[in-house]
């Protein structure tokens, strides 16, 4: 009988860990489904709609890269809570479509997993909460340190930066970030 305890304990811990990991992905996926609905209502009503009543953030934009079929709803702010549910819009930066740099960041293993497949020249489409639609073209990618992003908020062009952790396949987190830079090519309603 005592011989059964170690394998059971191991199995237990293993299950907990596995469940926890799966839970992060499940949360990320489920949140996007709820966010998608909240965002559609936002666009329709023009008001900030919280995806669930106790949320401390709200959807601000939709990112789409049609070539690879990727899409995500961006939330306001980049607190840990927000990033668990979707990409976050860094608060110091402007909204997409405004003069300056809009910076969106998300986890490399959930919402921005698709960034590794985005090629230079791809069209990144942003739909803002107010329903306005902007097309950006990816022009440069770079790997930087988190505290030396080199992103200048007060630029004179209309720019977009998508940021996530680098390297993509690492399992632990590090100081390096992958940034994909894009410039506005078209804006319409």
């Amino acid at each position: 009988m005592p011989r059964l305890i170690p394998p059971l304990a191991l199995a237990l811990i293993g299950l907990i860990l596995f469940g926890d990991g799966a839970y992060i992905h499940a949360k990320a996926w489920l949140a996007q489904v709820l966010l998608e609905r909240a965002f559609d209502r936002s666009v329709a009503s023009g008001e900030a709609v919280k995806p669930w009543s106790w949320a401390d953030t709200w959807p601000v934009a939709r990112i789409e890269v049609k070539r690879i079929g990727a899409s995500a709803i961006v939330l306001e702010g980049t607190s840990g809570q927000a990033l668990a549910f979707g990409p976050g819009h860094i608060r110091q930066t402007v909204d997409a479509g405004e003069r300056g740099v809009a910076v969106y960041a998300a986890h490399r293993d959930t919402h921005f997993r698709f960034l590794r497949n985005v090629a230079i020249g791809d069209i990144i489409e942003i739909t803002r909460r107010d329903g306005r639609h902007f097309r950006y073209r990816a022009d440069v990618s770079d790997v930087v340190r988190f505290d030396a992003s080199g992103i200048e908020p007060a630029t004179h062009d209309f720019e977009l930066v998508l940021a996530t952790c680098w390297p993509f396949d690492a399992v632990t987190s590090g100081p390096e970030r992958f940034i994909l830079h894009a410039t506005l090519i078209e804006a319409d309603r």
Binding site: G21, I24, R91, A105, F146, D147, A163, V171, S173, R177
Partner: protein
Amino acid sequence: MDTYDAADGDEHPLLGRLIRVGFFLLAQSIAVMLVAFVALLVSFGTSWSATTEQASLLQPGDARSGSLLLKEDGTTTEAIRLGTDVDITVSGPTLRARVTQAFRNPTKDWVEATYVYPLATDGAVDTLKMVVGDRIIVGDIKERQQARVIYEQARRAGQKAALTEQERPNIFTNSVANIGPGETVLVQIEYQEPVHQSGDEYSLRVPLVVGPRYNPAPIVQSVDFRKDGSGWGATTDPVPDRDRISPPVLDPAKNAPVNPTSITVRLNAGFALGEVKSHHHNVKVESRDDTTRVVTLADGAVPADRDFELTWKPAAEKAPSVGLLREHVGDADYLLAFVTPPSAGQAAQKPLPREVVFVIDNSGSMGGTSIVQAKVSLTYALGRLQPNDRFNVIRFDDTMDVLFPASVPADAAHVAEATSFVSALQARGGTEMVPAMRAALSDKLGDTGMVRQVVFLTDGAIGDEQQLFETITAMRGRSRVFMVGIGSAPNTYLMTRAAELGRGAFTHIGSVEQVEERMRGLFAKLENPAVTSLSARFSESKADVTPAIIPDVYRDEPLVLAAKLDKLAGSLEIKGRVGDRPWSVTLPLQNAAEGKGLSKLWAKRKIGDAEVARTLRELTPEDADKTILALALDHQLVTRLTSLVAVDKTPSRPEGKPLKLSELPINLPAGWDFEKVFGERQQPTQLRERHADARNQPAARRPTPAAPDAIRLPKTATSAELKIIAGLVLIVLALILFVFNRRQPLLTDAA
């Protein structure tokens, strides 16, 4: 367990064992579920906290990437050197200054240099010239953003370029791009300024160093709510440009002074000169004739660590009381008038009883000689109070004390108490000026028929001037604010604007020797009624006069008017009241003397008026900006919204060679205490590498690796994969063990 086995084993050995196994498994599975549930709850927490920003603990100093440390001892430091020459020509009531900065690059790299320096608050900066070898490139005035773009383009293209930007009305930044190895680039700016007059003393002031400013941390009071009415907002920084006005400061204990400066003043007073005196520098005064002098520094160049102040007096008893200058520019005439109203009969008038609130700044920047000057000044002021006056004393750093709950009569006991309070003050801490100003302006006694005055002693070393101005505007009521600028490099912009908004006057005290003379002058103003209800009228011409509403003029101060006229004809009549008597003076415009740069002075004052109107909420920020921009572009002036930019069309830096940025360090103002300001000794100066090639750094447009507003990217990796992998490994391991365990009993049974 074995003993139990033996005891129960007799009756139902197999059944008992099965039941026990069943119970065990049930208990285990409940435990598993419980633990799993708890673990899941906990994992919420951990996964949240694991994804919060890890950046906040890092100090800016750690974050500089690609930085080159320089050797610390002054002799071998490989850095951009700067020499400054100031050449001033005084023509009667106006002066023109030419400031030449020589940027020498002794390093082997191509360098971009930035230098933060002060200029006179009233100075109208209109010219930028860059001298490269034997070529002179004259700068153009452009909107600030546009000038920045032109400069950045030239910088990237390897062309030499110079950019002059205004950070505050008295703080400017010069940037020079692409200084080659071993090269020297001269940058020359020129400005026009009126000469300051007080009584029969004329003066000019050349600030040479920007005192390190205290920039308050963002506070919750200033919140920008989003316009969409969602009720969400972000707190704003009271000093959004704090990195632009905080150049590195050298610790005088560790470094030789830098930035040698030579000064020449060609004084052409327009009247026979009496005493000419420099207050903080040794000078040589050469005399050509009665009305002209040439003033140079006696010991050659000096380090730029204190303001240069020169005063002169007429040989005759009285200074001329009226001055009138004209200039024709474009299709308009510009006029500058100086009128000193007669002082009221002093003996006849007994000063009105007053309520005076003294505010003394005992923050860290006042450490060293400044706090001594401030204490001596305040002690002197306390001694001048009359028994029927009321007074109070407030001291502040980043904390604040109000001596008496409300103003008290200035009897011997109260004055003695205040004097001992003042003499015990020590300089330390930050400079939170706004709460002290609020306390001083809150009028607790109400209208008692007393004149209410606030005397504010400070060096003005703060970066959020605008907040102080708004406090004065909002709360001034019937109080009048008198500013006393203390120390070797006070913030003159803060002093003049605060006194203007507070309808008072200001004075500078740069050394203990000046205390008595200057405080006596200030008290003469405090005690004597001003010339009030002033108005100006042109008989024949249409005029755009600044100031539009003429403020009260204190004893010994001249009234200075600038006007733009459609034609120079008729006369100017100025009316007012001195005490209770009416006073007026009429100046025929035909008698005006030819002057130079008056249009710029007029425009500069109009710009100042627009800034004041913006602070007073008389103009919307948009309208004020529009007015300022139009004036600045018309008259070629550097303002908050316009910069001068000069680009040498010939590219000089070969493609592919990197460009390094050097932020030129400044001296600590003389008499300041380094440790009181910065707390501890600083890191050595650093050169930062910077790629001129924008392709390497897509969004890097400005060298702000350590700037507080640089964007930090949040942590964007979850531990999901790590957990899944580890979980799977453990489950597989458990399965192997389980199978192995099941095998063993079978094997033993078989055996």
